[in-house]
Symmetry: C2
Subunit: 198 residues, 2 copies
DNA sequence: TCAGAACCGGAATTCAGCTTCAGGTTAGAG
DNA sequence: CTCTAACCTGAAGCTGAATTCCGGTTCTGA
């Protein structure tokens, strides 16, 4: 007889008994509220605030998620899934460079809109986010393929590595204080900053 | 009759009465201890830990610095001064590109060695760090001159701006998880990542 | 050498947030 | 309709870390 079961598992193993209707509804509210607030102010939001926005008591948050980390992980997990979907879509493009740009800018636009996402990507690895590691692997595989295509088509320098994609995105995210800074950063990266006299 | 005077003013207006010998010595110990620890783990160190490393009680820290922020500000301020000195030195180089590279890599190597410095540069503007703003102005002026020289000599693209220097450094600092990542990042930036088929 | 201002130590206090828990409520099976 | 497991609430408890406070200690000028 578990008292405070954690249904936040991202792996979709259905719980023995489905949630009661009100519980399912509330869980959704929590996820929505947390999603918005985390996206807006990252880690800094308080549990109480999330509960209020969801129209629930704090206790209810804890019925659905073991702790703040678990809630954050659930939110982050969603974003990662979306990102993998984005990568998959980008890979559809027949033009290799279009695929690369779609992936890069799509990724960064998502990051711009979501402080929690940036937080997860820029900060140190959270050991509690194991579920996310698997998602990352999927994403990386697709990225790898897109990068390779761009190289083979001569759009990226020969020695470009998928890891470099991470470098670029981290760099850009660090410049997201202002809406246009990160675009400038990416532009400089893509075009290079050396002059004619190099 | 002030009780707990804040001598952390970075502006060197000497206090009415010079500090007692032991006090001056202790102040130095605090600065040293805090400098090392902040450099190592940034914001995350605790006052108690700093006190211990300095061989003093916490109360003593608070005799010299109003609060943790003030102590951090004092440390950061020192780094900024060093950075301005570095810029001045770089500007001495007769070769414009050498000057630019010296500045860029010197700046980044310092950042690599100091988490507190990165923290101050990457995080949002702290309102309590007013003293540092002045130092920043000096630094910016020199950077501006170095950038201009590099452009005029044809080593940097015409539309390069001093602000871009900030973009680059922020980007690189975000990639300082691993010692060589940021160098790769800078290299990509300088050389560009587009292939022959651009 | 001595008084007392300046200084120091570190236990006690404060505080902000997360988390728990002892009841009250409600969905929904029978 | 009834009963009860599942659910919800939010005040109270807990925790970790900053900050205070005051009795004791140490400089230093006379």
């Amino acid at each position: 007889m578990p008292r405070n079961v954690n249904y936040s598992e991202l792996t979709m193993t259905a719980p023995e008994r489905p949630l009661r209707a009100d519980a399912r509804r509330n869980r959704e509210s929590v996820l929505d509220a947390a999603g918005e607030l985390f996206a807006q102010r990252g880690d800094a939001v308080q549990m109480e605030e999330i509960a209020e926005r969801a129209g629930l008591g704090v206790g209810t948050l804890y019925r659905h998620f073991a702790d703040k980390q678990a809630l954050l992980a659930a939110i982050i997990g969603r974003r990662f899934e979306a990102m993998t979907a984005l990568a998959r879509a980008a890979d559809e493009a027949s033009d290799p460079w279009a695929a690369f740009e779609t992936l890069l800018y799509g990724y960064l636009e998502s990051a711009q809109a979501d402080a929690a996402f940036r937080f997860a990507l820029l900060g140190p690895e959270e050991p509690s986010w194991n579920d996310i590691a698997a998602e990352k692997t999927d994403f990386s595989a697709i990225t790898e393929r897109i990068v390779r295509r761009a190289i083979d088509a001569g759009h990226l320098r020969e020695d470009f590595r998928a890891d470099d994609f991470v470098l670029i995105t981290r760099g850009a995210m660090a410049n997201m204080t202002d809406a246009r800074n990160w675009r400038r950063h990416v532009t400089l990266l893509l075009e290079g900053i050396r002059g004619p006299e190099r």
